[in-house]
Amino acid sequence: MNKAIITVVGKDTVGIIARVCGYLAENHVNILDISQTIVQEYFNMMMIVDVNRLEKPFEEMVDDLEKIGEGIGVRIHCQKEEIFTAMHRI
């Protein structure tokens, strides 16, 4: 498995998850876990995904998601999981 973390932060609006999930499905990215909170109308979501079957370069997916975020007025980051495990797990 080759995991990545997608985070979405911004003002809550209809269809954020749908838009992101649609893109992931098209690109054969499997969602392993989703957690989401709304703090003072701010949408804060984290997804753990498996990018093993992703057909394009990972960097391209990072760019695509960033653009989707700009389109709906939220910030979307996609990072390989290792940076988080390195920092938070011994």
Binding site: T7, D33, T37, M46, E81, I83, F84, M87, H88
Partner: protein, 454 residues
């Protein structure tokens, strides 16, 4: 599995607290380039550097994109040029051609600095060493990306006072040669005692002769992250304070370790070390001085500064050492005046003096760094300051360095502008009493008694 709070913490460090990897530095050995013909030597050096480092910048950028962590600088360090140029260079001007070659190679592979225009003269100078040293002013004035360093002493060898005196003159000449740019050349010149072979940070990086053909060394950063973490420990005792710094340093260093391993794997070059130094930038919130102020000093330079810095430096190491398999380089908090907004402010209001900075260098790396002094300071006085700093390194078995900028045409109260990561600095007063009689004696200061451990 990783949770949302951990993910948010990491991303907040990157987005709001200036967490970054300060540099991926590729060390490249030039020993194979030696040639008695100057043109052939230059050609070999150009080819060696541009071949070995051709993918360095692109790889750094790809890693940065994959993990979402900025990697600010991609750099190269090479074998001290005095060793490589010795058989071809008969005069200082010959060495300048190598500086131009290194500059061109750095330009062509896209790195922002190349270090190693260096000589190691801690005990004595060969003719080649001296020629290289005498070429430094012209070399730094005629190139953009070349960084130079000279090691004038060590705990094992003592201090080469002939080299110290010469470096006083060279710093002054370098300042003169770049006076129309606020003596910027001096920002690219470091005088060391106990210089490490694997330092990834400029301007003092070189690829030591104890190293392999090529190696990847990484310098992490993150003063802003430490400062933010310490806000949560306000009013708490030292135990809580120290634990907070240690945990934060661990997290920062792990990111560096990850990037270093990844770079090593993708470039096919062995991983060398992580340098744990907390490296500030002129950006607000990315300052070592602000950490010290968060710990409880009104301004850096106030009584208590040295103790606070000693504690900070030690805790950063304790946290960082566990996070990385190999730690090396300088590994300590940097206190460059012009590159740290908190330091600049403290100098401007008179809280921080060069004497207090000297005291601070006893407990942290790396030395009197990026300090603008009056342009009319004599070469003898600069040599005296270098000798003091080198003595601290020699006796305490640590690296110390001097990167002073005598700003030609400017005096106390004026400001020198260097631009970019090098920042700006108010000109700081220097003790006006002479030390000529001391530095002109010539010869060596013997190694201290505690260096005889065999």
């Amino acid at each position: 599995m990783i949770n949302i709070f951990e993910v948010n913490e990491t991303n907040q460090m990157i987005e709001r607290e200036n967490l970054d990897v300060r540099t991926i530095t590729m060390g490249i050995s030039l020993l194979e380039c030696c040639d008695s013909d100057l043109d052939a030597l230059n050609e070999k050096i150009y080819r060696r550097v541009t071949t070995q480092a051709r993918n360095l910048v692109a790889t750094g950028e790809a890693i940065s994109r994959d993990f979402g962590i900025p990697i600010v600088n991609k750099r190269i360090s090479v074998t001290p040029v005095a060793l490589i140029g010795g058989c071809a260079c008969r005069k200082p001007e010959d060495f300048v051609t190598i500086a131009r070659t290194l500059d061109r190679a750095a330009q062509d592979v896209g790195v922002n600095f190349i270090g190693g225009y260096s000589a190691l003269v801690s005990k004595g100078m060969t003719q080649a060493d001296e020629n290289l040293i005498r070429s430094i002013p012209q070399a730094l004035a005629e190139t953009e990306k070349v960084c130079s360093s000279v090691n004038v002493g060590s705990t094992k060898t003592g201090l080469n006072m002939d080299a110290v005196r010469l470096m006083g003159e060279i710093v002054k000449e370098t300042a003169e040669a770049t006076k129309e740019r606020d003596s910027l050349g001096c920002a690219k010149l470091v005088v060391f005692c106990n210089a490490p072979d694997d330092n990834p940070f400029m301007a003092g990086a070189f690829h030591g002769v104890t190293e392999a053909d090529a190696v990847i060394n990484v310098g992490v950063s993150g003063p802003g992250v430490v400062k933010e973490a310490l806000k949560a420990a306000r009013g708490q005792n030292f135990e809580v304070l120290c634990e907070t710094i240690k945990k934060t340093a661990f997290k920062i260093t792990r990111v560096g370790q990850l990037v270093a391993q990844e770079a090593s794997k993708r470039l096919g070059v062995p991983f060398g070390i992580i340098d744990l130094s907390l490296a500030p930038t002129p950006a607000v919130g990315d300052s070592v001085a602000e950490i010290l102020e968060e710990i409880g000093l009104e301004k850096v330079g106030a009584p208590g500064t040295t103790a606070a810095l000693a504690m900070l430096n030690d805790q950063v190491k304790k946290g960082g050492v566990m996070a990385s398999s190999y730690v090396g380089g300088l590994s300590g908090a940097f206190i460059p005046v012009s590159e740290d907004q908190g330091m600049i402010d403290a100098v401007t209001v008179g809280a921080l003096t060069i004497e207090k900075l000297e005291a601070m260098t006893c407990v942290c790396s790396v030395g009197l760094d990026m300090i603008a002094i009056p342009g009319d300071t004599s070469a003898g006085t600069i040599a005296g300051i270098i000798a003091d700093e080198a003595a601290i390194g020699m006796v305490n078995q640590k690296t110390t360095a001097v990167r002073l900028i005598p700003v030609i045409g400017k005096g106390v109260g004026e400001t020198a502008e260097f631009g970019g990561l090098l920042g700006y600095a108010p000109v700081i007063p220097v003790n006006r009493y002479s030390c000529e009689g001391f530095v002109n004696r010539g010869g060596r200061i013997p190694a201290p008694i505690h260096s005889f451990k065999n």
